[in-house]
Chain length 118, copies 2
């Protein structure tokens, strides 16, 4: 392991800043899970997201959804149903996160095998 892929310093610095931006936006215990659920199951209501995310509390879910909305990754639409329902859906911009999630899932699967084979 010593890829040492040298590049021009400006590009290296720009990429490091981009990485820090992405980390700041997406890190935490829940955001990737929420996005993965929306990929898998399409637009979902609050209650369904709470159930499929396994363990999240309404307060935290509410906060995470707001942050994702602020960053233009999901939309929030209120439906005029009998008990009001609210749908959360991915925005077009959210497709940019799919490679990240896919790569994380792949890493998780491989890492689990790696650690088991001790």
């Amino acid at each position: 392991m010593a890829a040492t892929c040298e590049q021009d310093p400006a590009r290296v610095a720009e990429r490091m800043l981009a990485l820090k931006d992405a980390i700041e936006l997406l890190s935490g215990k829940w955001k990737f899970c929420i996005l993965l659920n929306l990929y898998n199951l399409g637009p979902m209501r609050f209650k369904d997201l709470q159930e499929t995310s396994l363990g999240i509390t309404p307060k935290v879910l509410s906060k995470e959804l707001q942050e994702l909305e602020d960053n233009l990754l999901i939309t929030r639409t209120v439906n005029a149903t009998k008990p009001v329902t609210v749908s959360y859906a991915l925005t077009p911009h959210a497709v940019e996160t799919q490679p990240v999630i896919e790569a994380l899932v792949e890493f998780g699967l491989k890492h689990r095998r790696k650690i088991k084979q001790l």
Copy 2:
């Protein structure tokens, strides 16, 4: 946005667990930065990692490096130099994280453009 790529439930659940594993291992402010630096610049010493990571303190760097080593992503080798130096290098297993980092950098670059164009 409503990809709704249905899959069999067992696979969905397995992938969600893998995602949670990956998040638990890699989340936080510094691990991806350290890994990116090792990709860009090859094996590095403690001091150099501290400088290129911009803002990390020795205590935190020490902790992060230990966790990465415990998870078989980096190796730690002591060199018999005059003031002792220590090199940190990526393991073969660490290549599995490269797609994740690349995807995060790409997302960060695109997101920055997206937000600027308000």
